[in-house]
């Protein structure tokens, strides 16, 4: 008799869960393991100085999004001072493993998991390409083709087509983040600088020792940007300008990374703008932009894909406001 009661209780619990699920938006988690290969973690094992910096970068975006959400992007010191310095402290702690981003941004993850999973997949591609570049693999090109094929097999993959970033930066709410929080925005762009500038440097260095030596000035420049964020930049760093050989050899990968970084900027703007005042509106816009303009599954209908013959970004960066000084020094 007790067994029946318990089974009934179990059934009611499932029913409640089902009804609740029917009333609320249900999202699948859809986590994928990274592409398994012998070169996995080559960067962590062979070039720890650089790997540590990327672990620090992982903290930055999540911490920003969580703080923008929780403060309603109303409190400038909370973002520019407190949240940015939290990120710098984490970077200074020299983390040897990447942080648990769900612990950093639990609210944001619950708001827009699909967008986060899109980032996670693209960041795994970033990591894989670094590992390949640092590994002693002879057939690096073949390995990159394989990881790109693996990446593109995900329904969360970002399009490998070139997108018109200037137009993607012209939504009604665009630029709201960089205008309100210029220091943190420049810090984010400094991360993106580091993420793409290392490819050609690593490729040009013939062995591990020279790779270690080659990234030293890049890390100095990057830390200079963290200390004094390059607020004079008017657009995010582009892969083809910082690693032109990599972009020429793997244009699809370069496009994915440029698009990934542009998507980061769009989401920062959505979380900042007053034009989308509620969390639900922000979530809807994040998903609309992600699914219609960034996911590869939307390539056929995506109005932002640059078709043959249309202008590209080449030559657009470093983008300095008229009258401003400085630029992407060090690369």
């Amino acid at each position: 008799m007790r067994t029946r009661q318990l089974l009934a209780l179990f059934g009611v619990t499932i029913l409640i869960a089902g009804v609740t699920g029917a009333c609320a938006p249900v999202e699948q988690r859809d986590k994928r393991f990274y592409y398994r290969a012998l070169w996995n973690f080559a960067l962590r094992e062979n070039l720890q100085e650089l790997d540590i910096e990327f672990n620090g970068v992982d903290f930055g975006h999540s911490n920003l999004y969580e703080n923008l959400l929780l403060t309603g992007a109303k409190d400038v010191p909370a973002i520019e001072d407190r949240a940015r310095k939290e990120t710098l402290r984490f970077i200074d702690s020299r983390p040897v493993l990447n942080p648990n981003e769900e612990a950093i941004a639990p609210t944001y993850m619950k708001l827009a998991w699909k967008a986060q999973n899109t980032f996670d997949e693209a960041h795994a591609l970033h990591r894989a390409t670094y590992d390949i570049y640092v590994s002693d693999l002879v057939e690096k090109e073949d390995a990159i083709r394989k990881v790109v094929a693996f990446y593109r097999n995900s329904k969360y993959s970002i399009t490998s087509k070139p997108l018109d970033h200037m137009r993607l930066d012209n939504f009604p709410y665009s630029k709201s983040f960089r205008r309100k929080f210029p220091l943190f925005n420049a810090t984010i762009w400094a991360y993106h600088y580091l993420q793409v500038v290392v490819y050609d440097t690593l490729a040009a260095a013939p062995n591990l020792q020279s790779k270690q030596k080659a990234v030293e000035p890049i890390l100095r420049t990057y830390h200079g940007y963290l200390d004094k964020p390059p607020v004079e930049w008017t657009f995010m760093p582009m892969t083809e300008e910082l690693s032109p050989k990599f972009a020429a050899e793997y244009p699809e990968v370069a496009n994915i990374f440029n698009n990934l970084h542009m998507m980061h900027d769009n989401i920062s703007d959505i979380l900042t703008t007053d034009l989308l005042p509620t969390w639900e509106e922000k979530r809807e816009e994040i998903y609309r932009v992600t699914q219609a303009y960034y996911w590869a599954s939307a390539d056929v209908t995506n109005p932002f894909i640059i078709r043959d013959g249309e202008p590209t970004h080449t030559g657009s960066t470093p983008a300095i406001e008229p009258g401003a000084t400085g630029g992407h020094s060090g690369h």
Binding site: T3, L6, L7, F10, T13, I14, A17, T20, G21, A24, P25, V26, E27, Q28, R29, D30, K31, R32, F33, R36, F41, R44, N63, E86, R89, F90, S93, P95, L97, P99, N100, E102, A103, I104, P106, T107, M109, K110, L111, W113, W279
Partner: protein
Amino acid sequence: MKRSTARIAILLLLMVPTVAWALDHDNLDPNRPIAIEDAYVVPKGEIGVEGGILFSDRKQGKSRFVFQPQLIIGAFDNTQLELSSDVQTDPRSVVGDDKSGNLTIGALYNLNTETLSLPAFAARVQLGFPTGVNAKGVDTALTGVMTRSFGQWRTHVNVGYTFLGSPQGLERSGAYRVVAAVSYPLGYPTSFRDTIIANAFTRQSDLVGQRNPTGIGIGLRHQVSSRVVVDVGIGSELIGPADRSVFFSTIGLSVGF
């Protein structure tokens, strides 16, 4: 004698570097280190090998060591398959569904990720085959899992029921169990290598006419490297039958590849 065994077990735990995080940072697996799991599965494509040694100091009867090997495979979207076993010292005295040497296969399906309005839910099905000592019949276990986060704190509830295929003597034909737990990333926001977990549990006794073994546990999971997690845990069945575990401790290792 028993007290000295318990002291040795504690000493061993303290000597080993505190370690453990599941194969995935935010993925709690049952018994690694304590009896709770979250509603999330390992990522599709991941293979994990886990193992642990549990020391159980019982109020009545011999103390036991239990070896708990487990294989986890992220076989499909949002689904993990598992193969596990418990190998125990003093196997002939074991009653209930966890007979020493039984082979268990299971599947955990994550129904959804957590959103602002909905916790994460998962469902588990397990079949225990009578490959062990004194085992008869195929045991079936159904478990519902829920995870809800509050800031960095995450709460978990597991509710399950086990049907014994062929109960022997005074064994129950079925028994429920309920576990509630909280977990927290120790070291946040400057370190993300440790997760602390505390649970409270109750379950129907293995034999009819006995009180529910009910107790608490606490554990730590520490990520050693990109692929390796170590865990330690201790706990006690505060109330329950005479042969309950008044103190248990565990240490384990998880490797993902």
